[in-house]
């Protein structure tokens, strides 16, 4: 079977491509995990801050560290800012969850195709070696 080595080579190239795509997807998933972790930590911290701000009396001074500068802030303003930040982080987390789900699905399908290719190659090679 003169065509079979070529077919096998083609299949192997396909396999390589699929494998690369799969690894890329896996890296994306890892990054997603990382970002998600960070966002989760930030969310926790912001919720802590909000709790403390609520405990403050109306006339307390609140400062925000912007770079090297401590800027005096209004308590109400600070409250609003922290709340908005919490909302933003939650939305980001949800978005990341969706992306993660997509990536995982893609990863699974890629795995399957890689597996199939491998099997094809194996059978072809087995067939070649027999005769």
């Amino acid at each position: 079977m003169a065509s079979s080595p070529a077919v096998v080579r083609e299949l192997q190239r396909d396999l390589e491509n699929q494998a690369n795509a799969l690894s890329k997807i896996q890296k994306d998933i890892a990054k997603n995990h990382q970002v998600r972790k960070q966002y989760t930590i930030q969310l926790g911290e912001n919720e802590l801050v909000l709790k403390e701000l609520e405990l403050l009396k109306e006339d307390s001074n609140v400062y925000k560290l912007i770079g090297p500068v401590l800027v005096k802030q209004d308590l109400a303003e600070a409250n609003a800012n922290v709340r908005k930040r919490i909302e933003y982080i939650s939305a980001e987390l949800k978005r990341l969850d969706g992306t993660l789900q997509d990536l995982e699905d893609k990863q699974n399908s890629k795995k399957e195709s890689v597996l199939k290719l491998q099997q094809k190659i194996q059978t072809l090679q087995a067939g070649k070696s027999k005769p």
Binding site: K51, E52, L56, S60, Y63, L65, L70
Partner: protein, 442 residues
């Protein structure tokens, strides 16, 4: 277990390859190490926090503190700490709040609580991981030692179903063997008790009326019940189909039973005894089936008949409802059916099959006979040629049953005399003896 049962011997190593297990162990250990370092960090925070609280508490004690103020990267100059009660506390995310010392302490304490909660959750995760690691380690060791998993299929199809579900649920190699061993032990124990009770009954029957039996049996009933309960449980669990079929059978077989006459009054008494036992409840369905099935067969085991009676009068009768009445009229050999039910786990049904097959031909239980069909099939050959279906059927059972054979005939004769009295009495230990009878008959 069953003779000629197919068995598979799988070395644990093949199920849990040692290399993979080791890899899994390593992974789990890595995870544990991670958690460990995280835990260390958090605990550092906690200690820092407490130190800070102490410090903050001490500052307002003085109007001003003399300190060496750090200047630049490598210089200090002497200075004073003033406004010792004013603190700019970092709330998080770049937000600071001006607070007094006491308020600062409050904030710090709240923060400390949050840290503690995190530490606790981390510790819990770590414990789970450690348990996992332990399991992996032990599996790796077992696989290395060459532990072997043995799975045997039961001969009976019904048994296979049971055994199939059993090993699957248990999952590990040891449990399979242990389960079968446990069942065997159960049967052995029950047999032993049945023997004891039989002997007592013999004495009782010879000396007094059936009431005595009841009295004697009652103290044993508790134990018997337990055993029977176990056996019954086993049987019940294993043969839920039986119980269902029995209830269905009851209606249908009652008619067949009516046709047969029980020769043993003892059975009646036994049946009454059964009524009081919890086991009878459990076994009720089974007995019912047996009663109906064995209506055509002569009951070698008077106990069975009495048991059937008991059942009628006992809670079982409640379950069985109208069938109990029929049972009282029929004193057909229930033994075989009963035996069959209890033995399905580990014993061949050859004994019971003949009787059952006979019964089956006579009755036409609707649908519920999952177990019966199997029994019939196996006993088809035997059924036709059985002059002594009960005895032959019983003999096919395990050795423990054989022993009972010796004791049965004498008991039966004794029981006959006491059937009237016994019918009136109901003692629960009878179920145990019932089994004995059944098994002994084999």
């Amino acid at each position: 277990m069953g003779d000629g049962a197919k068995g598979t011997v799988t070395p644990l190593g093949s199920l849990f390859p040692p290399e993979e297990v080791q890899k899994a162990t390593k992974r789990v250990e890595e995870a544990i190490a991670e958690r460990q370092s995280e835990l260390g960090r958090l605990q550092g925070f906690v200690s820092d926090n407490t130190a800070l609280i102490q410090f903050v508490r001490s500052l307002p004690n003085e109007l001003s503190h003399d300190i060496m103020v750090p200047f630049g990267g490598a210089a200090f100059f002497p200075g004073c700490l003033v406004h010792t009660n004013e603190f700019l506390v970092l709330l998080g995310e770049g937000y600071y709040a001006e607070r007094s010392a006491k308020q600062t302490v409050d904030i710090l304490q709240r923060r400390g609580k949050v840290l503690e909660a995190k530490v606790e959750s981390l510790k819990a995760t770590m414990m789970d991981l450690e348990a996992q690691a332990k399991f992996f380690n032990s599996t790796a060791e077992e696989a290395a030692e060459g532990l072997v998993e043995i799975r045997e299929e039961y001969i009976e199809k019904s048994e296979q179903d049971i055994s199939g579900s059993g090993p699957n649920s248990l999952g590990s190699s040891k449990t399979d063997n242990l389960q079968k061993a446990d069942e065997d032990e159960e049967f052995a124990r029950i047999m032993a008790r049945i023997e004891e009770l039989e002997k007592e009954e013999e004495l009782e029957n010879g000396n007094t009326s059936g009431d005595d039996d009841k009295d004697i049996l009652s103290p044993q009933q508790v134990g018997d019940e337990d055993e029977d309960g176990e056996a019954g449980d086993e049987v019940e669990d294993a043969e839920t189909s039986y119980s269902f079929s029995s209830s269905a059978h009851k209606q249908e077989t009652s008619e067949s039973r009516l046709g047969h006459k029980s020769s043993d009054p003892v059975q009646k008494s036994r049946g009454q005894e059964m009524s009081s036992s919890i086991i009878s409840k459990q076994i009720g369905g089974i007995y019912e089936q047996q009663l109906t099935d064995q209506s055509s067969l002569q009951s070698n085991d008077p106990a069975q008949k009495s048991r059937s009676r008991e059942m009628s009068s006992s809670i079982v009768s409640k379950q069985i409802g109208g069938i109990s009445e029929q049972q009282s009229t029929d004193q057909s050999s229930l033994q075989i059916g009963l035996e069959m039910q209890f033995i399905p786990h580990a014993h061949s049904f050859s004994n019971s099959k003949p009787s059952i097959s006979n019964e089956k031909s006579g009755t036409s239980p609707s649908g519920a006979q999952f177990s019966f069909p199997t029994i019939e099939d196996s006993s088809n050959g035997i059924a036709s040629g059985n002059s002594n279906p009960v005895s032959s059927g019983r003999k096919a059972f395990t050795g423990s049953i054989v022993e009972h054979d010796v004791g049965l005939p004498p008991i039966q004769s004794v029981k006959n005399t006491t059937n009237q009295t016994q019918s009136a009495s109901s003692s629960s230990p009878k179920p145990v003896s019932r089994f004995k009878m059944q098994r002994g008959n084999r």
